[in-house]
Amino acid sequence: MDAKEVIARRVAQEVREGMLVNLGIGLPSMVANFVPDDMHVFFQAENGVIGLGQRPPDGMEDRDLTDAGGGFVTAVPGAASIDSAMSFGLIRGGHLDMTVLGGLQVDEKGHLANWMVPGKMVPGMGGAMDLVSGARRVIVAMVHAAKGDPKIVPECTLPLTALRRVSLIVTEMAVIEPTDEGLALRERGPGVAVDDILAATAARLIVPDEVPEMVLA
């Protein structure tokens, strides 16, 4: 199982019956593949649909039904199409139960930086700042380090996405929960030792005596 699949499978366990969930593009979008088929969940794409479905069969794509990454999608029975004001009203107004987003850095305060690298990458924040400010739960799904450089750091050096503390950080090595006291290590990745996690993390971690291994179905 590669790193991204470990992350997606673990994040999928955070999804509960009846939730409205927004998945970011890239790795976060893989989470939908691991949510049980019989669980009733609506996925929102912020460009305008509640009830996002799978990719359509070849030749059945409709150019007016896409996800926020511009890819062709379907809509599930019970879906609703909405405009951008309604879509972000849901996000900002506390109606969105959970969002899963990628990350460039997360720090000891639980602050997320995920939208630009000055001098290198200025894509624009899209909906990320609204999602992090407004969603009830914000889950960061990212690989633990970028080419050996820790992404979980004492303080973000990249521009922040929001001042709001994220709810949970899930990597292939660890599940970490930002708390009032700091970053609490909750779980280890499959076959990963606590020392490996500490070595790959620049931020201070609060490590309990027992750190259970992720249970992946």
Binding site: N47, D64, A75, S81, D83, S84, P123, G124, M129, P159
Partner: protein, 217 residues
């Protein structure tokens, strides 16, 4: 009843330097024939307010390629390297706005509100130079309204009085933008006789629409 315009006639109405609100999300729901007519006419210096600048050679990206845009106010340019190139070269001014804030600023412009108070962007580069307002102990950023000289709206269908119906993820910014410009030009896929669009399905009342583009042949 309104007279249907040819795309070139509509483009002729739009003077150099106009502020254009253009619907669409990565081209989905954009007024494609109006964009082509503006490129063919070649008058520019526009300020474009839109979710994004699509991709090079596509949709709003065509206006960027043709160098008809002096400034854009958008949430995302990550999929258009040409926009980024012109921005870095100093040929194109880009104001990046969080997506939910952008739609709400346009909505404020369209419904006569003096601005938007939002937590989105607090503590980030978005907040630089902007006043904050405290309401019941919570801090918000004051974001100003946006209005356009023209709104260029893509719709699924339209009737002879200009009532507009949208489809699926092609709603996005269109219904909000149709309220926020001095002159509103709608480009529908289909033009229907009055009565064919049920009143409950109308998302933009025809009273807001000044001009209709002729049907797509």
């Amino acid at each position: 009843m309104k007279r249907a315009l040819k795309p070139a006639e509509a483009a002729e109405m739009i003077p150099e330097g106009a502020v254009l609100l253009i619907g669409g999300f990565m081209g989905v729901g954009s007024p494609h024939r109006l964009i082509d007519a503006l490129v063919a006419r070649g008058v520019g210096g526009f300020t474009v307010v839109a979710n994004d600048t699509a991709r090079p050679g596509k949709d709003i990206g065509k206006l960027i390629d043709a160098r008809l845009v002096a400034k854009c106010i958008v949430s995302h340019i990550g999929l258009n390297p040409e926009t980024q190139r012109q921005m870095i070269a100093g040929d194109l001014e880009v104001e990046l706005v969080p997506q939910g804030t952008l739609v709400e600023r346009i909505r404020a412009g369209g419904v006569g509100l003096g601005g938007v108070l939002t937590a989105t962007g607090l503590g980030t580069v978005v907040a630089e130079g902007k006043p904050t307002v405290e309401v019941d102990g919570k801090t918000y950023l004051l974001e100003k309204p946006i209005r356009g000289d023209f709104a260029l709206i893509g719709a699924r269908q339209c009737d002879y009085v200009g009532n507009l119906e949208y489809t699926l993820t092609a709603h996005n910014f269109n219904p909000v933008m149709a309220m926020a410009a001095d002159t509103v030009i709608a480009e529908p896929h289909h033009v229907m006789p009055v009565g064919m669009i049920p009143p409950d399905a109308v998302k933009t009342p025809g009273v807001l629409v000044d001009h209709i583009l002729e049907r797509l042949i």
